[in-house]
Amino acid sequence: MSFAAPWTVPALAAALTVPPLVLLYFLKLRRHERPISSTLLWLQAVQDLRVNAPFQKLRNNLLLILQLLIVATGVLAVWEPMHAGAGRLEQATVFIVDASASMSADEGDGRTRLDIAREEVLRLIDRLGESQRAMVIAFADRARVLAPFTDNRAELRRAVESIRPTDAPGRLAEAIALANAHASKAGEATDADQRIARTAHLLFTDGRLADAGGVSLEHGTLEVIRIGRATENVGIVNLDVRRSHEQPVRVTVLARVRNFGARSVSRDVQLLLDGRLRDVRRVEALAPAAAPEELSGTAADRPASEGSSLPVAFELDLDTGALVEVRLSGADALAADDRAFAVVTPPQALSVLVVTPGNRFLRQLMNAMPLAGRTFWTPQEYEQAPEEKLSDNGRSRFDVVVLDGHSTERLPAGNYIFLGGVPLIDGVEQTGKVEGEPFLDWDDTHPVLQHVSVPAIAAASWYKLRLPPEARTLIESPSGPVLALLRRERSQYLISAMGLFDETRTALNTTWVFHEGFVAFMYDGLRHLAGATTAGRRPSVRPGEAFTVPARPGTSSVTVRRPDGTSETVEVRGRGEVIYGRTDRVGFYAVSPALDGDETRAVNLLDEGESLVAPAAGLQIASGAVEISGTDRVTRRPLWPALLLGLCGLLLIEWLVYSRRVLV
């Protein structure tokens, strides 16, 4: 249950009506008694006054009319009428505009939801009084204050007009936090003469906000204005592109198409390589997600109804890198999820250096793997090898170096797998030995462990590891990490505290080497470290997320070409990386020059919460449910508080009329 009116309204009504009523009640009770010789003349006088009072007939009916009015007012109030005029604005109003992907949904009249939201806000700004102030916050995955509290309407209008659509998911928390901060006492202190006594937050959204449940408002009231009516949308919710392990030129593109609307649809799914159409698949009769009346109440994380979500697979041979785009034909409410992008890297054969005093398991494993080159060195050879054989321009000549039972500080930038040893770098230490401990926790979603059955690993002992905080623990025992991944500058270290042999290297420390899980671990570990983690494609990011690209040494800035064709110059950070965060639209972002020529990254929506465009019926925030008013909220306002006030007034009048009838 929610209350549209602030608590002051009923409090005021009670303060205005209850005391007089009680007073009258007590006055009547406290009538003094006086003996009198005869009431004959008094009764006659009272009767005469009653009879002679003007409009006596009307007075008789006045009580009836009043009571009828009271009943009618009550009935009307129960009916929850809405005022079809101008909505009232508080002294301080925060306009919070959702600019997430779903707000780009086309409403069929040529306007997107964001367009409608902007128009509504502009209309409200025009109605601001002289003393009323407002601020504008736009948010998608991040929130921005476009205009702080001001009574300058031109500034507010400019702020609203500057809101641009994004393809990022909607995250309300930051917007509310910003609003809270501006409405807080600390905020007021900066502007003491303009105290913000009460702030109304008007949130213009379609209600599809995944994090709303954790949001709580500290000051003022929150009113949600639901924007949008469109419900029909089909989107690509997943895209997986991978090269075959056995045949690196074979690329499988697997897309999942889901219908979020209430009608059954059929669509063509096109596969484009470097912008050219390569293949088309037909998706027939995608079942509706839900009945039309249920769509608003459907949660995004609800499993897809049967038949509403179908996979589409393409297979092709590709011996070069390529930009893959999967595109849905036809038009629907949201365009951002009709396209998905992936960057396929050229088939990469790894060059691996194995540093081991002698390990036939590793040797056989490496020989069995489809590698471009494999080199076996002893630890002494590794330490004594000339620099040029080990590195080129400060970077390792090998894609991955596997160090078996050897710790070293000779670590040019590159990828390393330590088995029973540690990189001798700052923050990493072997502090002792652990025996007979179970594994406590592990992350089997990580690509390195995704094909490994960790409970099946049996080991006699392992080193106790102390790692820097940024290290990601993949397997954990009670006394610390057993397997961890550490990224530092341009190097990656996959560190296993568990060696394959004991210290004497005469006995096996673990039987893991006999399991296929070890093979999978080594294979996935090599590919993950070598940057071919998902078998042939560079990871894509969500809109709003930043991606990192290693810059060519010596360059101070790079150019990023955005999907809309515009370019932007970005400075290279201290570590020789380019971090780009303005990924607000889906598509390809090309960075040039990167380490190896141009490098392209894909930004995909792939968010079922945003693809479900049907406006939500209600919004649940941590401080309680918020009723969403319709798109035309601005001109509709509940009248029941006014009716209730009127009812109290009528009751008072009725009581007075009744009392006068008795008294006089």
């Binding site: 003094h32 009198i36 010789s37 009272v46 005469d48």
Partner: protein, 299 residues
Amino acid sequence: MATTINRAGDLLDADFMTRLERLDVVSRRIFAGRMKGERRSKRKGQSVEFADYRNYVVGDDLRFLDWNIYGRLERLFIRLFFEEEDLHVSVIVDASGSMDYGDPSKLDYVRRVAAALAYIGLVRYNRVTVTGFGSGYGPEVAGVRGRHLVGRVLDLLVAMGPAGAGRLTEACRQFAIRHPQRGVVVLLSDFLDKAGYEPGLRYLVGRQYDLYAIQVLSPQEIEPDLRGDLRLRDVEDGDIAEITVTRALLNRYRRNLEAYSRQLRDFCTRRGVTYMFTSTAVPFDQLVLNYLRRRGLLK
């Protein structure tokens, strides 16, 4: 209202009684008394005052033949004299609960008036009846005559206290039944009877008494000093009237009281009843010595 009359001396003091002895009750009509009194009767009788002659008829008392005329005219004439008879003076005192109101109390006031009238009647050898009524008829001293019975009458009046809801009609009916003799009847009451005063007065009028209706009201009834929200309780029947005293209500009350008294006066006038109105604010000796004389009840 507490009474201030606890003994006969409180009703009439000696000085006032002396002044009363000079007064007499006047009757506009001449009534037949049972005994010879100090009053010339309408009847021809045996007094010393010659009235007329008439022809003798068989059976007339031969003692009244005028022999001188027979000697001159040889015709028999009977001498007629004015008969002197006693007068019935009745005072009906309303002793209902409503009379025990006001400052001074209406009941005290009417008892004093009744005592004065009774005293005058007794001193003048009239037959005096004093009757009180409240919820019932009585007490009563009926047909007493002579100065020596003043004490009895006054004792009755002293003992007469407020007695419940007044029943004027019933009291008048009883009086009319019990006292068929004509005479002067003075009814002292506030006439605030919810059953109405008309039927009661009709009983008295029907007996052809020389009737005087004296309405006595207290200043508190004529100009109520009420204020605020009140529950007015009728001292007689406990009836409640809830009022909020306003100027309009007071004006309406005054107009109603005026109209009520006017109706009573008109009712009395049409039936030959002498109506008098007095407030207890008027000193009762002034009422008796001046007002009642002016209105012809006393001379």
